[in-house]
Symmetry: C2
Subunit: 279 residues, 2 copies
């Protein structure tokens, strides 16, 4: 793997470039992004050069699509005409089924292997990129078939994932999307719903709240520019997660003053505690 092309040099793409470099990658890293982002990425030493999409695709051994989900889908539609047959295309989109479906129809001239690094920060953009962003974090790979993992290209890519400190997890695109609906998309909606509901009410205007309110509305600061695509491309699993969550809240309302609430609190506290244990 000599040339890596990062499509979308933002937080994730920029961090992947920095992480590769730190892990010993000595080839060339080219970026495909808006002129302003390319300029910042060059200043920050995140990429070696900026290129047009077609030129980058024609040269790259690894094409890393770290754009918003629907842009990744659009990139896939174009790439097949440009890529080298020895290239691997991967992506870092937050939902995988739509992208895997698109790749299955659009990419025939080289291998595609989807992925999702479960890392993030509150800040976005190449300025927020960090070489250690993926360290100790899950990095899901979502092959449509077991065989897709055992090609030399896939093995080499999986090796780089380990070398940047991430923990590779293998799931089908559909399993991935069902899981993250519960572990990632639901927590986002839980926070946004709380903030959006309180935005319309008078109670918070009294100033009567403690640090817990800021805590529970922190995720609500996230931008719809990212979340719009996620919600639209994973709606059935998210609706199922919402259904289960709403049922839990309805149960809480019913038993609010009873000792059943002790069980719910203890079970929740145990779960929250286990999440915080080192793996």
């Amino acid at each position: 793997m000599n040339t890596v092309a990062i499509f979308g040099v933002g937080l994730i793409g920029g961090s992947f470039a920095l992480a590769l470099r730190k892990a010993g990658f000595s080839g060339r890293i080219v970026g495909v992004s808006s002129p302003g982002t390319i300029r910042r990425a060059l200043e920050l030493g995140v990429i070696d050069e900026g290129r047009a999409a077609r030129d980058a695709a024609a040269e790259a051994d690894l094409i890393y699509l770290s754009q918003p989900i629907l842009q990744i889908a659009d990139s896939l539609a174009e790439l097949n005409g440009w890529v080298r047959p020895e290239a691997l295309i991967t992506d870092a989109g937050s939902t995988k089924t739509l992208i895997a479906d698109r790749a299955a129809t659009a990419i025939s001239r080289c291998q595609f292997l989807g992925g999702h690094p479960m890392a993030g920060r509150e800040r976005r953009g190449v300025e927020a990129a960090e070489a250690h962003l993926f360290q100790g974090r899950p990095y899901v790979l979502t092959p449509r078939s077991e065989a897709a993992l055992h090609t030399p290209l896939a093995r080499e890519f999986a090796n780089w994932i380990r070398r940047i400190g991430a923990c590779a997890i293998i799931l089908s695109p559909e399993e991935h999307d069902r899981i993250v609906a519960f572990t990632s998309h639901l927590p986002q909606l839980v926070s946004t719903a709380l903030a959006a509901m309180l935005a319309d009410r008078t109670e918070p205007k009294s100033g009567v709240f403690g640090p817990a309110l800021a805590d529970s509305t922190r995720l609500a600061l996230s931008s719809f520019d990212i979340w719009g695509d996620i919600l639209a491309s994973n709606k059935d699993p998210i609706r199922e997660a919402l259904r289960h969550y709403i049922a839990t809240l309805q149960e809480f309302s019913k038993v609010l003053e009873t000792q059943s609430m002790r069980n719910h609190f203890e079970s929740g506290a145990r779960f929250a505690g286990q999440l915080r244990e080192p793996h």
Copy 2:
């Protein structure tokens, strides 16, 4: 005000003692708590001495009840026979209606003025007490009548609240409870419900989640030992808050893939941003 008696020398009671001292209080601070807590509070220099409840009550100019809510109610039932007529009894309970009702029937020999400092930490107990816990935080006072604020005792207490850096806010007990159902009790249940629901499911066991999940289950670490009393003593306002929140989630589920979600996200992000602005 020469002698202050803190009933329940935990995070709040201990912090109030430390804050008073730091703000220049030169009188005596006595603690009423379990023998173990009194020992730690003396070692940490939080109180000057430990006393039995009856003795502390008989000597104090200010009686500060910082126990769990139902224990505060029990203390009120006993205190009337012990207090000096020149004393002020206040409390730091997280719900105010039940306590105000109890005080109205139980306390006749001195003044009672309820309160709720909106401060907290993840850690509990006297070890976690901090002199600056109340700094810049709302401290709600909940008189049953306007006149109760204008007694010399109430004025002196309100002055100390300002001197420890808190922002006094005046509300009726009922207004307080309705507001905190939305701004404090709902955020707690939102987090506990998420954690309790996920505790029973397989998705998180995959290890596929990002930092957002830990973030949104942090409040779920809270102990039912504190929350049981809060839920039981504020059930109608909390049920109303849950009703509004569930309706918002149901609306989200309905419009999940549409552009309406942009409005919800933007309104939520604006609210969350405003919460973080310095006052």
